[in-house]
């Protein structure tokens, strides 16, 4: 489990073995290859948190067809690499989104649609929506617009694929590194009512944090 949190892209044990045998170069090549495969196959769990849910069907069906780039919808967060948060998030939704995000297996990415997760958008003075999503969970690609057209959603996918291919530092790594920041923000806005995580006991982090 430890390796899950601070691991690089390949299992650290494998990396050690390769380095011992003087094959660190092989490791780099393998990582590159794996990154390429990761960018070519993205399983999406589409969480229809807002208006953007209406542009998800066109994106995934025959007119725009995201599947030709290897972007496929799956039903459960367990199997997904990417979660699409399509629009503003109410506090009630944010609780579920955090839960869903934590159920996903690393590496995992987040794409948000619309202006609302960036800065409140049209609902900036609403008492029930959050304004800055990246205070609570890390976001890899923002697709702007109200609503973003399916073309721009696809462009968001392409941007994400390039970032994965280049092996850039992704949101989930930031989340693992700055866990306290994100958890504090979540606690501040959601009060004490956050579900305990699937894998870690966030409230006893000093005791090792293993649930």
């Amino acid at each position: 489990m430890e390796s899950g949190f601070h691991g690089s892209d390949l299992d650290s044990s494998l990396k050690c073995k390769l380095e011992e045998s003087g094959m660190a170069n092989t490791h780099a090549i393998m990582e590159k290859a794996v990154n390429w495969f990761r960018s070519r196959s993205i399983f999406v769990v589409a969480y229809g948190t807002g208006c953007g849910a209406i542009e998800m069907p066109p994106t995934f069906t025959s007119r725009y067809d995201a599947e030709r780039m290897g972007v496929v919808g799956v039903a459960t967060p367990r199997q997904a690499d990417l979660i699409i948060l399509s629009g503003y998030l109410a506090y009630k939704t944010l609780r579920r989104v955090i839960r869903t995000y934590e159920q996903m297996q690393r590496p995992k990415y987040v794409i948000t649609l619309g202006s609302c997760p960036i800065n409140g958008g049209m609902y900036w003075d609403s008492y029930n929506t959050i304004k800055k999503l990246d205070d609570y969970i890390p976001v890899d690609v923002y697709v702007t617009g109200c609503m973003p057209r399916p073309e721009s959603v696809i462009e968001g996918f392409v941007l994400l694929q390039e970032r994965i291919k280049n092996g850039e530092k992704a949101g989930w790594q930031k989340y693992d590194e700055n866990l306290k920041f994100y958890k504090d923000n979540q606690k501040r806005v959601l009060g004490g009512h956050i579900d305990p995580s699937y894998e870690t006991d966030w409230y006893n982090l000093e005791n090792g944090g293993v649930a």
């Binding site: 506090y91 009630k92 800065n119 900036w124 003075d125 008492y127 304004k131 800055k132 806005v189 009512h193």
Partner: protein, 203 residues
């Protein structure tokens, strides 16, 4: 409609015609239950379309509107009543119309209106809400948002437009004033210089 109007006159109520499909009756709170009952059973208004609540903060009242329709659904009658804002309490209508249960649940959450006979006053849309019921007019959503959520920089939306406009006008005014003063000072300086130049010219 004349039919309903005459029936209501017997109850000493006036039916106001708003347009061809919309009528309004204003009733007192103590008569509300009996009048709604007679609307349902005697006048044939078997459908409750919605219950609307309006917060009249200045008068200290909530104005509640029951929108009723007959079987034909070709017009709407608004039965309107007012309740006190403090300790707002209404009789629950879920026994007359089952759909009232959910509408009253929402009103309880959004305005804090109490329904003593309601079977399920649970959460509707909000979760763990600890503040004032949000649809009350004295709930300041802007202040609430600013206290809960930091905005990204460079966004001025979370500011009050009126205050900002006033500020901007004042800034403009001040700038204008400053410009005038500067111009006056310049003029004065020029005037100060001019005598010299004139003097030079004279020389």
């Amino acid at each position: 409609m004349i039919d309903l109007s005459s029936k209501l006159e017997k109850l000493s109520l006036e039916l106001v015609e708003k347009n061809a499909h919309l009528y309004k009756v204003t009733v007192k709170l103590e008569n509300l239950e009996s009048i709604l009952l007679s609307f349902l059973n005697e006048f044939g208004y078997i459908t409750l379309d919605s219950i609307n609540c309006r917060d009249d903060l200045e008068e200290g009242l909530f104005t509640i509107t029951y929108c009723l329709q007959t079987e034909k659904r070709d017009h709407v009658v608004m039965v309107q009543t007012s309740i006190d804002r403090e300790n707002a309490t209404l009789p629950s209508m879920h026994t007359l119309w089952p759909q009232a249960e959910i509408m009253e649940r929402e009103m309880h959450e959004m305005f804090g209106v109490d329904f003593p006979t309601h079977p399920s006053l649970i959460d509707f849309a909000l979760e763990y809400w600890e503040h004032m019921p949000p649809m009350r007019r004295d709930f300041d959503t802007l202040e609430f948002v600013n206290s809960m959520n930091p905005f990204r920089d460079q966004r001025g939306d979370n500011l009050d437009v009126k205050v900002e406009m006033k500020k901007r006008r004042e800034e403009k005014k001040a700038a204008k004033l400053k410009a005038e003063q500067e111009a006056a000072a310049k003029l004065a300086a020029q005037e100060q210089q001019n005598p010299d130049s004139e003097a030079q010219n004279n020389e």
